[in-house]
């Protein structure tokens, strides 16, 4: 965080190498977030690029006491939500989350082993479908909590809502995922 802060200070004074360092440090984690939000690798790449362009433009508004990573998460989440809204309006279904890299073949996949896929194929299918059924806020809150590791308080900052609302969105998302998955999961031994 201290390193980020130093880079932000330099970038604000016009040091493009410092901004480049921020881009290189945070691009990959933002891609993961954006992919979870949009379900599409090409969209995720676009979101990452647009997020840094917005960040560069708004660098003066960044509060140096805050975490640059969380700030970028907020920007990338907003970019992702914009994109998802557009897609919904156009009634285009996003590429399913289990179809990685379509249009972006250079991205290596960390797909589970074939055995694991065979064991959990239906679960994964239902999970991807259930994720697509979540509302924008539920999906964003769940992605930030489950995959991003953000605490509820941080999620409320990213989504610009009260902590109670952020927590409620996470719960609703978990409830929906449980309803979708429990019927196909083997009973507890």
């Amino acid at each position: 965080m201290e390193i980020d802060r130093a880079f932000v200070v330099k970038a604000r004074s016009g040091d493009t190498d410092a901004f480049r360092a921020l881009v290189e440090r945070h691009s990959r984690s933002l891609f993961r977030l954006a992919f979870r939000m949009t379900g599409n690798a090409q969209d995720a790449e676009d979101v990452v690029q647009e997020s840094f362009l917005r960040a560069y433009r708004q660098l003066d508004r960044f509060d140096e006491r805050a975490s640059f990573g969380t700030w970028m998460y907020r920007i990338a989440t907003n970019c992702s939500l914009d994109l998802v809204r557009v897609r919904k309006r156009r009634n285009q279904t996003p590429v399913a989350a289990d179809e990685p890299g379509e249009g972006v073949p250079e991205l290596p996949s960390l797909a589970p082993s074939p055995e694991r896929i065979a064991l959990s194929g239906e679960v994964r299918e239902r999970l991807a479908a259930a994720m697509n059924e979540l509302s924008e806020t539920e999906r964003a809150a769940f992605v930030l909590r489950h995959f991003g590791g953000l605490r509820v308080e941080q999620i409320s900052h990213v989504l610009e809502c009260q902590p109670g609302a952020a927590k409620h969105s996470v719960f609703r998302a978990v409830q929906k995922l449980r309803r979708a998955l429990e019927p196909v999961m083997s009973p507890i031994r």
């Binding site: 690029q49 362009l53 960390l110």
Partner: protein, 247 residues
């Protein structure tokens, strides 16, 4: 202790069980809650099985390569805007000192009579600069990627500044009888107001609507034509006032 509710179990799973006393201890002693927790844990653990394409090691460097030219373009636009704003402020100051825009109680006609050519020239200089800055704002909207949402917060601020500034030029143009300039400034005002009142983040559909307005007003074309006229007038006036430079 009563049974744990679902919210408490979810928070416990994520290590955020703030304020809930000894959840772990309760789970050890309560079979019902333990079963509920194990069921929840299995669902949430399964979420990790969603395939995630891991970005390549050089993903950050590639991202930089793609955005660096666009950052440079933004810096250039911003620097030019700041420089031109300063230049326009200088022109305005000169005009104010000359008493053209805010004359003392004298009627406007008297100013025009006193030195109509100087007043007109000042107006043209200021308007030329104003048009260039307007064109930069409009070009950002006109050239944006139509497939992506567009953040126009910067352009909205510039548009609001330009609207506030244009009144001065429009009034002066009307006073000096330059109906063509006043007309284009009117059209430009309408477009700038639309940008000012647009959301900070435009969806592609909203961007398309805004572009339609630009097209229907033919505003970029009008700006180019008027800008070319203004520059030609400036060059002619400069040649007249400083003939030595011609030779």
């Amino acid at each position: 202790m009563n049974h744990l509710n679902e919210e408490q179990l979810v928070l416990y799973y994520y290590g955020e069980e703030n304020g809930v006393p000894d959840v772990a201890g309760h789970l050890e002693s309560c079979e019902t809650c333990r079963q509920a927790y194990v069921s929840l844990e299995r669902v949430l653990d399964a979420a990790d099985e969603l395939t995630l394409p891991e970005p390549a090691e050089d993903f950050g460097a590639r991202t930089w390569e793609r955005i660096a030219p666009r950052l440079a373009a933004r810096r250039a636009v911003f620097a030019a805007a700041v420089w031109r704003w300063a230049a326009a402020a200088g022109v305005l100051l000169a005009a104010l000192l000359a008493g053209q825009f805010y004359p003392k109680p004298r009627p406007a006609a008297a100013v025009a009579v006193a030195d109509p050519q100087a007043g007109e020239r000042l107006l043209r200089l200021a308007v030329g600069d104003y048009l260039e800055r307007s064109q930069m704002v409009l070009a950002e909207v006109a050239n944006a990627n139509p497939r992506q949402p567009l953040d126009i917060s910067f352009e909205r601020e510039r548009a609001a500044d330009l609207v506030a500034e244009s009144r001065l030029y429009r009034q002066t143009a009307l006073r000096t009888g330059d109906a063509a300039v006043a007309g284009v400034l009117d059209d430009l005002d309408r477009v700038m107001l639309e940008i000012t009142h647009s959301p900070a983040r435009l969806t592609p559909a909203e961007l398309e609507r805004l572009r339609d307005t630009l097209d229907s007003e033919e505003i970029l074309f009008k700006i180019r034509v008027l800008g070319a006229d203004v520059r030609a007038d400036e060059a002619a006036a400069a040649a007249v006032s400083n003939p030595a430079r011609k030779s």
